[in-house]
Symmetry: C2
Subunit: 448 residues, 2 copies
């Protein structure tokens, strides 16, 4: 039979190049031109590969092409010899090796004579709006790339930590029925002949799945139709969610989150060492867990800073910053958990504190001045749900496909959600959470 | 300061219990009652934990409670002694150990006197519609759970394989602007004061990111407003996407996909051995890659089975089944790649074959009779996009935020998408892809 073609099963993937072992050897590399510097004797061509930029060196007259004629952002294939080097530029890695170029083929060039933004400088000199509009270009800058290498590592290692600890990954639907969570900040959808909504969180689904799997997690998009355009909000973001049967109450959730963050930050430090250095990130040290009750911390902030938020039923941004400042100064901690939020400010599924039903067994986690997590214990008895929802004026019938779960028996349980972009932004020291989203969505922005 | 509470950083997570090492030791376990069997001398209580069911044994009169009074699906805490055992039921694991119960505390019971569906039988005896409506209950059945343990492993290991091979995970937006892909099968959304759409694939975004990262992947939901309700379709599913710069053309994509599937299936075989046995799955053997050109395979199917699809510009479901049957019979392969699809049936970004522009450098992958992947090389020059889109009557202006990418220079590249539910369904031998979705969405179903 001549019609079948049988391919070798090997691929050409080879990302983990051991450069010292290649010293003085011939190599062929294909990449994009990050930058070209032109000293008198020739050229440095910084070549962008999948995981880093490498320095290549051209001596005048030694190759088939004048490097000064190659546009930045061209795709080129070079042949050359690996040589020792000492490179100080943190945006170039490896720093102990470079390629002495023998030959260059140009595979593709930009169609524009001049790019609309200079990605060869140490930093991108443009406002946020321009940066976002030109995302396919701005993300080619080493510092922009570094943010998303770190973000990808956080996403991946969140899943690895939980899988290793007996959690099952779930993928819950993003198109949901009218009853799901609800509230004002929900996007409406035409679903064939009826209305549907975009999930604001996987809350209902992860609870349903605790009955089946005991411990579940999800990493996926969530959608909030919030109209305000702030440095803390995105209308679409990635939520890293946990829900689990509890043996020892909500404090177990705080411990799981802390362990997860510790594991993730350790992985970022080791696997993204180059990106951490390039962005000048000081990695958080996590060796103890600090928790304060909601009312207590308000008193502390009043005593310490003279700011009186004691009557407020929530934390405002300034307050979150002061709490983090206080915990950093007093305990040298970058993380803090605030517990026992007022029941009036928590959703119907939150478990009230038996000792004081005006407070819930719930918490927020603040990381370097910003809330990155809301979590807590949930109601788990069907009758408690019905009572609580009726008390809040909710139509129980709309929620029956969710509430059935509690009729079938459910363990005491709870969960939490961590915003990927917020963790990334706080870790990387970004002043706007949108900078930690590849393609941010806000009330004004839907493209690219 | 008395207001701070400092928690131990250790969590109570302990999923990898080494049962033989616990022989004759006292343990405490909390779980849900999967099933109770009542021989004359006492009871077997099968306890559902996060990752498996364990057998516990009660002798009459030896504990604080009559086990016959404990409802199935209660949450209980047992104290007992680990003993050797020989268990044949594939739904119970470990099979060499059981717990001799000394004490039981009931933590929670179902609120219904009788559950609407029996999850204690070897199989669930209900139609698909009932199964889906009662998802929070049906997923508690061991065979249902097994499907989603395998699905979670496929999702996780897809990401691990690609990360290990130099790919960067991306999270692209699911709310997209009007130009994105388009076509009839798209869900429309109210996005503040304008219209937006739900992404049918991350196609545009993953291409944009090849310019920055060289090799990218994504695992996330995609949305197709297809009106037909078939065993092959979901209106929302999880797409596992790859996009990468190519050195050697589209065949490199076929090699990457094959390597990824081989890696994933090996992980399923080792990490889900219990689930594979329970579902009676025969794991596919992948040791060669078989590819046929689109026109050639149609001729083969005609010659071999007398079915004439040679005039058709696509593959129909019956044809996919016959092709897989042919490849299985002839080469003992569960996977086959069909290449060189007609240009007329591929999107505007598909790369035509320079040797014959009526065909594209693209492919589908069939797994045990069902298409699980579409992939191929893409155009990478800006002018080619503009020419091709105009030829197809498309409004180039609508796509500028995407097309800018090609103005900045792009490497030759290509990619593919794998449907998570389809791979899972084919691997687990499910006759309907919806059974591989926790909460399937179709034209008739939006709940739970």
């Amino acid at each position: 039979m001549t019609d079948v073609k049988i391919l070798d099963i090997q691929s050409n993937i080879d990302s983990h190049i051991d450069w010292p072992s290649l010293m003085d050897k011939e190599v062929e590399l294909t990449g994009m031109v990050q930058n070209i510097r032109l000293p008198k004797w020739g050229a440095f061509i910084i070549l962008r590969l999948s995981n880093y930029n490498i320095q290549t060196v051209v001596e005048n007259g030694k190759i088939n092409i004048d490097p000064a004629t190659i546009p930045v952002e061209s795709t080129i294939r070079i042949k050359g010899t690996v040589r020792q080097s000492q490179i100080k530029d943190l945006a170039i890695f490896p720093r102990n090796a470079e390629i002495q170029v023998n030959h260059i083929d140009i595979l593709s060039v930009p169609s524009l004579p001049a790019l609309p933004l200079d990605t060869t400088k140490k930093d991108i000199e443009a406002g946020l709006d321009t940066k976002f509009t030109l995302r396919p270009l701005t993300l080619r800058h080493p510092k922009q790339r570094a943010i998303f290498k770190i973000s990808a590592t956080i996403f991946n290692e969140f899943g690895n930590f939980l899988t290793q600890n007996g959690f099952t990954r779930i993928c819950s639907p993003k198109i949901v029925f009218s009853g799901a969570e609800g509230g004002a900040n929900i996007f409406k959808l035409e679903y064939f002949d009826r209305n549907a909504y975009l999930a604001q969180s996987p809350q209902f689904y992860k609870q349903m799945m605790v009955g089946a799997f005991g411990r579940v997690f999800e990493t996926g998009p969530v959608f909030r139709a919030e109209k305000h355009d702030t440095s803390r909000h995105l209308n679409e973001y990635v939520s890293m969610d946990i829900e689990m049967a509890l043996q020892n109450g909500y404090e177990e959730l705080i411990q799981v989150e802390t362990n997860a963050l510790k594991y993730i930050f350790d992985k970022v430090a080791s696997d993204c060492a180059n990106e951490v250095a390039l962005l000048g990130i000081e990695m958080p040290v996590i060796d103890k867990i600090y928790t304060f009750r909601f009312n207590d911390i308000k008193q502390i902030i009043f005593d310490k800073y003279g700011k009186d938020y004691r009557g407020e039923k929530d934390l405002c941004p300034e307050e979150e910053a002061l709490i983090s400042q206080y915990v950093k100064e007093t305990y040298n901690s970058d993380l803090v958990f605030i517990t026992h939020y007022p029941t009036i400010k928590r959703p119907f599924y939150a478990m009230p504190d038996p000792a004081n039903p005006d407070e819930t067994l719930s918490f927020d986690c603040l990381f370097r001045g910003l809330e990155i997590t809301t979590g807590g214990e949930r109601l788990y008895k069907y009758d408690d749900y019905v009572t609580n929802m009726k008390k809040r004026g909710m139509n129980v019938d709309l929620f029956q496909s969710y509430l059935q779960t509690f009729q079938y028996g459910m363990p005491p349980h709870g969960g939490l959600g961590i915003g990927l972009e917020r963790v990334t932004a706080q870790l990387c020291g970004l002043s706007n959470v949108k900078e930690a989203s590849l393609f941010p969505r806000d009330i004004n922005r839907l493209e690219p």
